[in-house]
Amino acid sequence: MTGATALVIGVVLAAVPLSAGRAVGGLQAIAGLAGLIALLVGLAGWPAGIGLSVAALATGYTLGVAGRVGADPTAPVEAAGLVLMAELAVWSLEARSLAPDTREVLAWRLRRLAVVVAGTITLGALVVAVSDLPAHSGAPLGAVGAASAVAVLSLAAIGLYRATASRR
């Protein structure tokens, strides 16, 4: 079920860029096809195929927006589609474990999916909005960037510490 849904989303993500009828349509079609094949391979049990599928479909989309002035406003939706497809494909692989999920775990998975998709759209919209700002926004934007980098590194350090430390 989750695997089939991921495949349907993959087909949609591969087909949508083609509908614009751009000059790079042939390359987009190849990328989309490669993405679908990789997804099928991933669903068949080779997890790296899921990553390759996301990469190929993202390449197909990027080919369509290359040369465009300003950010594509539909990018957050495309990103949400890719994340949803990848999450569902991973769920499909995890569901092949011996242990079937209880309803509580199913509910947690659905909540997680909803949060991830909503977060992707929100974050994407934010990035698109920020990218439309004038290029020379000055020190404040640089400070935000530096603070983000520090925050990411701190979180990574905290996570690694927690993962390696035994219970205190």
Partner: protein
């Protein structure tokens, strides 16, 4: 039927998400930098943010776990409830719990909790490398676990066959809230479960030729204190007045008393053949032999006889004992009998002399396929043991080889077994062939008839 909680620190591993998301995020953000396209940041950003958020949520769990069963002995075909008690030191959204179920037990689908759906799975599909013994089925479920709150999924396990089993340990695989790491641990002391064969009741038993001096239910040939009338004789000093036969006394004009047969108990040794050929996957007839031995042991012990066991293949034995405790010990030895493929010799002298008392009735349950069993039986007979051989027919289930050569091989095999049977009969043992369709009670009656014929 439960052990104390055992605590373990799990091993850490990367989840599929960590392995897939990391290169995607890195490649996407790098491509965004190189091409200057913000769309690539939008596409790769969610994967990067998921990774960072997931890393921030990581906490190393510690599991406490124990396996509990509501019984440690069940009858073959019955079910037993197995409960896994599990706690964790941190909140975990998805914890896979797998209880190893050995071959011979299966997970019963009915009577399981509605939110736990045990699945019977083919062998080999066990994700953990912590497996300790072959498992036929896994009682498995995935559920969330809150910090220091116990969860206790339960399953009903059915004993499909008799035997001694170990249920557990439990393999726990937990996913952290970010879904990036997988913590795997094996915990919980395995619980022992003995599935006892469904023993039939035997109305009539074969009486041994010789008895012990202690009181029992076997009517002995010697005269003494008992219930069975034997004869009348003249009164002697010391005879009890209640033994006076007044009718004979009145007829003969002097005091005559009744004589009675004494009632004694006997030693019964059950001799089990668990040898298996290298080309066979199971000892032919061992299942029937064990069930029959359990029935015989229960019946003889009920008659206050002493029962011992020799498992010739597994070189396990039990000295004759009596009472309910002896029954449990006998069944323990019997259900632990497993088909054994060995080239080692098994002469009777390997067994301690007190295991085979001189007056014991030895009942051997064997398919008469192994020469070492023949040798042991010959040796017993040479020692003048009171020997009964119940030949558990191995032919049922054997696929007759096709072609003239196969047919010839089949005939030779049967002739060889006939020869062994005749040698044993020539030595004075009673050999009765037990086909699958025949009840054990019928075989015991036949044995009794044969022994009476031999006695005449």
């Amino acid at each position: 039927m439960s052990a104390a909680m055992s605590s373990v620190g799990p091993e850490r591993g990367a989840s599929l998400r960590l392995l897939i998301w990391t290169p995607l995020a890195a490649a996407g953000l790098l491509a965004a930098l190189l091409t200057g396209r913000p769309e690539l940041v939008v596409l790769a950003g969610p994967f990067a943010v998921t990774l960072v958020a997931g890393v921030a949520l990581i906490g190393r769990p510690e599991f406490s776990c124990r396996v509990e069963m509501d019984a440690d002995r069940v009858l073959q075909g019955d079910t037993v409830q197995a409960i896994v008690h599990l706690t964790s030191s941190v909140d975990l959204p998805r914890v896979e719990i797998l209880l190893g179920v050995p071959i011979g037990l299966s997970v019963a689908r009915e009577n399981s909790p509605p939110n736990v759906l045990p699945r019977v799975l083919p062998p080999g599909r066990w994700f953990s490398r912590h497996r300790t013994e072959p498992t036929a089925a896994a009682a498995a479920t995935a559920l969330p676990l809150r910090a220091d709150a116990e969860r206790s999924p339960e399953w009903r396990l059915r004993a499909d066959r008799w035997g001694a089993f170990q249920v557990g340990p439990v393999t726990v695989r937990a996913h952290d809230p970010g879904g990036l790491l997988v913590w795997t641990a094996t915990c919980g002391q395995p619980q022992r479960l003995r599935a006892l064969p469904s023993a039939g009741t035997l109305a009539a038993l074969v009486q041994p030729h010789q008895t012990l001096v202690t009181a029992g239910n076997v009517v002995d040939r010697t005269k003494g204190e008992g219930i069975e009338f034997a004869d009348v004789r003249p009164f002697r000093v010391g005879d009890r007045p209640r033994a006076v036969n007044w009718r004979s006394t009145a007829r003969r004009g002097a005091l005559w008393v009744n004589e009675r047969y004494s009632e004694r108990n006997a030693d019964i040794v059950l001799f089990l053949d668990s040898f298996v050929d290298k080309d066979m996957v199971a000892a032919p007839g061992l299942d029937r032999s064990v069930r029959a031995a359990c029935s015989l042991a229960a019946a003889y012990l009920q008659h206050r006889d002493r029962v011992g066991v020799i498992d010739l293949g597994g070189l396990r034995w039990l000295t004759p004992g009596m009472g309910q405790a002896a029954l449990y010990r006998v069944i323990d030895v019997l259900v632990s009998a497993t088909p054994l493929q060995t080239e080692a010799d098994r002469p009777v002298r390997l067994f301690p002399h007190y295991l085979l008392p001189a007056r014991a009735l030895v009942i051997a349950l064997t398919p008469l396929l192994d020469e070492r069993v023949d040798e042991a039986l010959f040796e017993l007979r040479r020692r003048r043991a009171d020997l009964i051989v119940i030949e558990v027919d191995p032919e049922e289930g054997v696929i007759e080889p096709s072609g003239p050569l196969g047919s010839l091989a089949g005939r030779l095999w049967r002739l060889e077994r006939d020869r062994r049977r005749h040698v044993l009969e020539g030595l004075g043992a009673v050999v009765i062939r037990w086909r699958r369709s025949e009840p054990l009670a019928h075989i015991m009656r036949e044995v009794d008839r044969s022994r009476r014929r031999l006695a005449r």
